[in-house]
């Protein structure tokens, strides 16, 4: 019978699955295309015959072999890690301290500074990289991967601080106060009570920091020109696009491998992202 609760539930579910399915196709198509292209032979990639959505002339790992043997992919990977790990650490330490101070210490002008910090984030990279080029030059860091360690936090810290201010504000003040009354000093309270409770917020901020640092393209392209100092994003592109010759197979293979670390990080951290962690600390 149409209109029975059961039938209506089935209909609703079908619609939901339909919408979710459409979204999945939309968002998973680019990775699929990358994987597909990276496994095709060059002839097939350039061929106008047949159906492009499947591999017809046999799969090959040639592009992956070339990536590791004929380009500096491993050097880029190492540099990306060397830049991203300290960038995330430094940015998180600064953001946490700034956000804690701005959200909890309640000094004069804290609100204005909090908003100001966020506005800084809104200035686009493409405007900033020219003046920053002078700054990096002045610091003697041109053509060094460490230039990125200076530049990335300027984009990450404002946003993470703003994000954390919001999250910290949702943590009841009584929690800090209870710890202080219980005998903790400010630092113990921060490390043993406040930050553990703020873990979901910290994870969100960490993911953001990692993503910005790992996927940054403009700054490494602008500041670094030796292959030995280059990172994954700019490195893959500069070494696989020679003039107007695009090595599509290699580009796709490199892009796919480069996007694995963020995917793994997300999957790993989501497990620890227990939403509602603060539930139960205060009233129902």
């Amino acid at each position: 019978m149409i209109g029975s609760p059961r039938a209506r539930r089935t209909a609703t579910l079908l619609v939901c699955y339909g919408i979710v399915g459409a979204f999945m196709v939309f968002f998973l198509f680019p990775p699929y295309w990358m994987a597909l292209t990276s496994l095709k032979t060059n002839q097939e990639i350039e061929s106008l015959e047949g159906i492009p959505l499947i591999i017809q002339q046999g799969a090959t790992l040639k592009h992956y072999r070339d990536l590791f043997t004929k380009t500096d992919f491993l050097v880029y990977l190492k540099n990306s890690v060397l830049v991203t790990v300290p960038t995330v650490l430094v940015s998180m330490v600064i953001s946490v301290m700034a956000a804690y101070a701005l959200s909890r210490l309640g000094f004069l002008g804290a609100g204005v500074i909090g908003t100001g910090v966020f506005l800084v984030y809104l200035v686009p990279d493409s405007l900033l990289f020219i003046p920053l080029f002078k700054v990096i030059g002045g610091l003697g860091l041109l053509n060094s991967k460490w230039s990125l360690l200076v530049v990335y936090p300027t984009a990450i810290v404002p946003f993470c601080t703003w994000l954390l201010i919001g999250y910290f504000a949702s943590i009841p003040r009584e929690l800090d106060e209870a710890a202080l009354v219980d005998g903790a000093n400010h630092f113990q309270m921060l490390v043993r009570i406040f930050l553990p409770v703020a873990v979901p917020g910290l994870i969100a901020a960490t993911i953001f920091a990692f993503t910005v640092s790992w996927s940054g393209f403009l700054y490494p392209l602008a500041f670094i020109y030796s292959s030995s100092e280059q990172v994954l994003t700019a490195g893959t592109v500069t070494s696989l696009i020679k003039g107007d010759v695009y090595h599509w197979g290699g580009l796709m293979a490199g892009a796919l491998l480069a996007s694995l670390p963020p995917v793994l990080l997300y999957a790993f951290l989501m497990d620890y992202y227990i939403s509602g962690l603060t539930a139960g600390s205060t009233k129902a």
């Binding site: 009354v181 043993r192 600390s281 129902a284």
Partner: protein, 363 residues
């Protein structure tokens, strides 16, 4: 165990003068309750004692130490918050042990104290749980447990029962009272609920707009309120107030207004003499009114019209009109009246209250 002294205590926020010239001596082992309407400065006062709020002016002494500049951890106090403020990522055991760990107690001593407190509060079987797995009442017990394991000099409570449902609140109230009798630790307890204040406090401090209105034992506040505010705040249903003129007739003082004429009883006559020809506020508690019988003197009785009848089982609350005045009477459950009926009421002359119209002080 210790006494707490507040001397000329003041707290100013940017806009608000939240606590004004508070002077209070909380005696050793005393259970003192700060009560007053929301925003009257109770919490602020308590938080200054805790060290969570800076003192604008004045001095706080705990035991024999001035604590103005001591951080909370060095004041040897424990606090129970309205929202419990349990650490959500820790088990009940760790919640209670945290304060002792911070103070570097040996493991065995911590286990013993937490065990003892859990037994007192009946939460032994909850020790491995996380706060989110507890009911409101259980969370409240854990919050209390976290305070008592510390054996502090002073307990501070900020509306600890106001998030519980009515039944649980009454039960926890009794338990807190028993707990205090057992531990004999000085306690300062903040609430907006006058029933809680009256039942728990050895002495009660009534506050309003940052000022202390009166300090006294519960029954003293009830029978001898210092001013109109205290009189109206303590007691439920609240005291009836009426603007009346003081007149002189037949060699006796009377107070009267439209629909009401009552002789001033001898106990009040002396003090009220000065108000002859002026207006004062008359206060009558609902429980000091009863249905008049033929034997009642006309000097202390008056006619009313019943407006609303609220039978509560053990008693009946009557909303009445006496002339222009609306008042509430609390009468025996056996009284049979209907709305809009006439009813003659008698009052207890020695329990009348009079207040100065301007200063609102008791006369």
């Amino acid at each position: 165990m210790a006494q707490v002294l507040m001397k000329d205590l003041n707290k100013k926020y940017d806009e608000v003068h939240a606590v004004k010239d508070v002077n209070l001596h909380v005696r050793d082992k005393e259970f003192i309750v700060l009560v007053g309407p929301s925003g009257c400065g109770k919490s602020t006062t308590l938080r200054m004692v805790a060290g969570l709020e800076e003192i604008t002016a004045g001095e706080i002494t705990i035991g024999d130490r001035v604590v103005n500049d001591l951080p909370p951890k060095d004041r040897d106090i424990a606090m129970v918050f309205q929202n419990y403020a349990l650490y959500p990522h820790m088990t009940v055991y760790d919640n209670m042990a945290f304060g002792l760990k911070m103070r570097k107690f040996p493991k065995a001593e911590i286990a013993k104290r937490v065990g003892d407190a859990a037994e007192i509060l009946g939460i032994q079987e909850l020790l491995r749980r996380k706060p989110r797995q507890l009911s409101g009442g259980q969370r409240q017990r854990v919050a209390v447990g976290r305070a008592i394991v510390r054996h502090p000099q002073v307990f501070l409570f900020d509306e600890p029962l106001s998030n519980l449902d009515a039944k649980l609140r009454v039960q926890m109230r009794v338990e807190l009272k028993r707990l205090h009798d057992r531990l004999e630790t000085t306690a300062i307890y903040v609430t907006h609920d006058q029933v809680e204040a009256m039942t728990l406090g050895d002495r009660v401090v009534v506050m309003k707009d940052g000022w202390i209105q009166q300090v006294g034992e519960p029954l003293e506040l009830y029978s001898k309120p210092a001013n109109r505010f205290v009189a109206g705040f303590i007691g439920s249903p609240a005291m009836n107030f009426m603007d009346v003129a003081v007149t002189d007739a037949g060699g006796a003082l009377w107070v009267e207004s439209n629909g009401l004429r009552v002789k001033v009883p001898p106990v009040h006559a002396g003090r009220l003499g000065a108000y002859r020809g002026q207006h004062v506020t008359l206060g009558i508690r609902p429980e000091d009114l009863r249905v008049a019988t033929g034997a009642d003197s006309g000097d202390y009785a008056f006619d009313t019209v019943v407006d609303v009848v609220e039978p509560l089982g053990s008693e009946i609350l009557l909303d009445l009109k006496a002339g222009d005045h609306a008042l509430v009477a609390r009468v025996e459950p056996t009284v049979r009246v209907k709305e809009h009926e006439q009813l003659r009421l008698a009052l207890q002359p020695e329990r009348l209250h009079f207040f100065d119209l301007k200063t609102e002080l008791s006369i």
